[in-house]
Symmetry: C2
Subunit: 589 residues, 2 copies
């Protein structure tokens, strides 16, 4: 080893020991008679010291040639520091250098290797190997490692077996777009990269594996958003002889264990929220429950506190629904205008925003004073459980749309009021999802989760008559408004599965071609089974209170699916293409 | 849960408890008044019993409809068995059924779900989910899981961090053929699937990660042999600030730990063997050292015990080399003919085989009695340390070829003499590999390991003058004649790396295009580093004493790279192809 200790290891216990350290030069402070070097490695920073008269002149001369990020090896004695630094664990000691060697030089990095770096996103991605030297990113990846390790420890204890499923599989048009791999040994045919190991894990249940998990790469050839990557990682799990409650208990246990092990936080039992409830009170199937601010409906099919006052917009609305922002009656005109602009952005698409200030002196000031008397507004305020000093924000329109819009507004206001503390965690299960949703565009039913999700037994009778009302044995785990995982109890019955495929518009031939092997497997004794998959990148980010997953991935791709560090994808040798039995389309050569 | 206990769990301790079990029907024995059912799950087999007069008739009737592999749930009471079965851990008890439910029916499986199955390879692969129900295969995959878990535990303790490297990377013509993935977002460009994360792990060292590992899928588009798969798994590791000895110690420690944890075997320190020694004494860089039978050279550049006796074949040979098969002088003419045929097979390619029987009465009988007197043969026997009763087997020819041939013969004879016990393990390191080998076909130097392997510092001077003599800081771990892992200390110096690329025939542009990002990274302070990669599939097989890796992979592909269960690769929708900016070559459509 080119070191006896790491740069994070030495303490007063080591006084007078002769040690060898290796690492990167973080800083050199040359005060003339004394030179201090901060030596950095993964484990920490240790101060080296060299002093004229004490340290050999050749070493001092050598030290003066060191630049940032040079790789050096230093031999020396551990001494107590005169001026201690209580900000770092090695801050009580320094190493008086008796030998020094440059292991490798370093050109000046294109940006500062510090928490607050001067490198822009593009530059940091191109030099990702330098970006990864930054404390912040390294800690993220260490956290990721620890989460993976703890996940495995927990599942291993519960007799789950990690089984690797294949990466070169078969394309299934259902779902997102697959990445394809031309086969050289089977010309004209293609493998696909898996979007998830869904069918394989179900086959493992048919195979009697009983409890399976895998931390596994999955792939989707989708147009990318900031928080999507073409390759991403799932904690993929499946269990046999279970009902929904067993899966919920097992994986609530996992996440509690992770919080405890990694964050030192005891998380309470997760509340369960029905899908319908989540939509009604939060306008989202992944509500952020760190704060309350539930939706209150002023006009719906059951009551109407807004009509017949001459305000056509609300008179014609299917739903009038609002939130009460506690203590926000002091919002300025400008702040309210900004909120109005926010909901009117095309991504959200509201026509406008109604506000009602319930002033601290119990008067009302609203954007609809023309139509509604203070008594009317008081009625709204009471319905919304508002107190003087609160601000009511109200949207109206078609039920589904307006709920989505108000969800966005609620999250924005929650952020503005500081109610979304990233170091506070609110976990829940959303349950009782509909099995199917009708797609207006294709005019057919789609599986809300996936086509293997089982309907609630009591709802099977509705499959033919009222498919929209059939609820599924499906569940999502939500933390701080982010969907961390989702799963379902699967269909284990060949006949029911065939019926579902039919309902989803698969011809018998299509179902056979795509999922024949699975339906065939079900003929030979499939156990009742169900499972869940967690988005591992996102889990890392949420536990760290970070929005983007990118800095939890060592070598991420940009929004064009490119790795700008290795310059991939790239053009390849024409002979490689030809060998695959394909050619580029004329304008792509 | 649809069970209170697993089928491997109940003991006499559970007597009189009311339990619920779920599983598959292994067998039904209907003796008229009594029906026994063997119920199987991953954890074991439990005997259920139903008795006329005691068990409700409806249940007995139901039991009579059960077929093999039906999935059932049984409720009952744990009783002591009259006739105990000491072959299974649950053999002291049985469960008297009070309730029975069929969870799923099963068609008759196409082969027997037993250790000794009647299913052929193809059939078992097509119905792999049934094959996986067999005890043998399930145990293999459980072993694989345990090996992976133990590997992670060991490396985690030594502060290694598991980092996921990308799967969608860039093609590098060096090495085997890549699988390619056309990019839809970057038309005309391709990703490649990694043959190993080599460059990424080196970048992680540049990034200061210090100790990295990953259990990771790798891909090679090669024509397949029985023990190769297009996708395979590596335990991939890298360390910074280390020398060769540190890597050897660390990973010898890993394998010892795995033997101890998984097999309960204490393995002694691994001997080190020089590459030159391995070639000279075993004709292989992965010698099977479970048995001795070292090569003895009868004629080489230093001595000659075979020439000038009128036998032209040996007179003209560059090398005459033999092995001594202890106690095999009794081999029959037929056995010797079979061995001769064995070495003359085209895969081995020897012209013939010389045998010398050193009979128990101290006489000699050889295939070259015409040329060599008993005194000559006695001289050979003495050189080969033979005793009466031994058989000498001798080959001759060009040094490299004849060593390879004799290696094959040695292994064959070792097998015949029962010297290759699969439950005995002989581990070693082969070290001091040549850095380069000259390829006659392309008339250029190739890297014996890979182009990032560092030469021994003392040999760098020879790079220009005598490249063949340059030894590498490279090492292979060999167990029972199988190369389990290999690695090297890498080049951390940009200039030396550029020089190597040049020697390997890369133009500066080619080197830049393929490895520019790595050479660029080395400019910014690369630490000395090195590592190793283990073939995980093979490690599983060797530890189990099995030759083929296929049954340690849940869903393997056949020799045409096909998964016959899911029928992959497959033709895909033409629109999917077009979207990728490619088309099939005319005769492939």
């Amino acid at each position: 080893m080119l070191r006896t200790h790491t740069c994070g290891e030495l303490r007063l216990d080591h006084l007078n020991e002769k040690v060898t350290l290796s690492g990167w030069v973080q800083t050199v402070r040359d005060k003339g008679k004394i030179i201090w070097i901060d030596l950095r490695d993964r484990y920490g920073i240790t101060q080296l010291v060299m002093e004229e008269g004490k340290t050999p002149t050749t070493l001092i001369d050598l030290a003066r040639t060191l630049g940032r990020e040079f790789v050096i090896q230093a031999v020396g004695t551990v001494n107590e520091r005169a001026a201690k630094n209580d900000k770092i664990p090695t801050g009580n000691i320094e190493v008086s250098v008796t030998n020094l060697q440059v292991l490798n030089k370093a050109a000046l990095p294109p940006f500062k290797i510090e928490d607050e770096t001067d490198g822009g996103d593009d530059l940091r991605m191109k030099f990702r190997y330098l970006d990864l030297r930054r404390n912040l990113i390294r800690q993220n990846l260490i956290l990721r490692h620890r989460l993976a390790k703890a996940t495995r420890d927990y599942l291993d204890q519960l007799a789950f077996i990690e089984v690797e499923t294949p990466v070169l599989i078969k394309s299934t048009p259902e779902g997102a777009r697959d990445f394809l791999v031309p086969s050289r040994m089977n010309l004209g045919q293609f493998y696909a990269l898996p979007q998830s190991p869904q069918t394989f894990k179900q086959l493992l249940m048919v195979a009697g594996f009983d409890r399976y998990y895998q931390i596994v790469k999955c792939f989707r050839d989708e147009d990318l958003r900031a928080d999507r990557q073409p390759e991403f990682t799932q904690i993929d799990c499946e269990m046999s002889f279970v009902e929904q409650e067993d899966v919920l208990q097992t994986f609530e246990g996992l996440v509690k264990y992770l919080f405890k092990e990694i964050k030192g936080i005891e998380v309470a039992d997760f509340p369960r929220m029905h899908y319908a409830e989540a939509m009604k009170y939060y306008g989202s199937d992944k509500p952020d429950t760190r704060f309350d601010m539930k939706f209150v409906e002023l006009k719906n099919t059951e009551r109407d506190l807004t009509s017949a006052k001459g305000f056509k917009v609300l008179d014609e609305a299917e739903l009038v629904v609002g939130i009460c922002a506690k203590g926000a009656a002091s919002y300025s005109r400008k702040q309210l205008d900004t909120l109005t602009d926010f909901v009117k952005r095309p991504q959200i698409g509201a026509k406008g925003l109604i506000y009602v200030k319930y002033n601290t002196d119990s008067t009302f000031k609203s954007s609809v004073d023309k139509f509604y008397a203070p008594e009317d507004l008081k009625q709204w305020a009471d319905a919304m459980d508002a107190q003087p000093g609160d601000l009511l924000l109200i949207l109206s329109g078609k039920t589904q749309q307006v709920r989505k819009q108000l969800n966005e507004l609620r999250l924005e206001v929650g952020s503005q009021l500081g109610l979304r503390d990233k170091q506070q965690f609110s976990c829940l299960w959303v349950v009782d999802f509909p099995l199917l949703e009708f797609d207006e565009e294709t005019q057919r039913w789609h599986a809300m989760h996936h086509p293997f999700t089982s309907p609630k037994p009591e709802d099977i009778g509705l499959l033919a008559s009222e498919p929209a009302k059939v609820k599924a044995n499906a569940y999502d785990m939500v933390i701080n408004g982010v969907e961390i995982g989702g799963g379902s109890i699967r269909i284990a019955d060949e006949t029911l599965q065939a019926r579902l495929f039919e309902l989803l518009g698969f011809s018998q031939e299509e179902a056979e071609a795509q999922f024949g092997f699975l339906m065939n497997a079900f003929k030979y004794g499939a156990p009742p089974h169900g499972g869940i998959a967690f988005g591992f990148d996102r889990l890392c980010a949420v536990l760290s209170g970070v929005d983007s997953i990118r800095d939890f991935i060592a070598f991420p791709k940009n929004n064009s699916g490119r790795d700008v560090m290795i310059e991939s994808p790239a053009t390849i040798d024409p002979s490689q293409i030809q060998e695959l039995g394909i050619k580029l389309l004329p304008n792509k050569e």
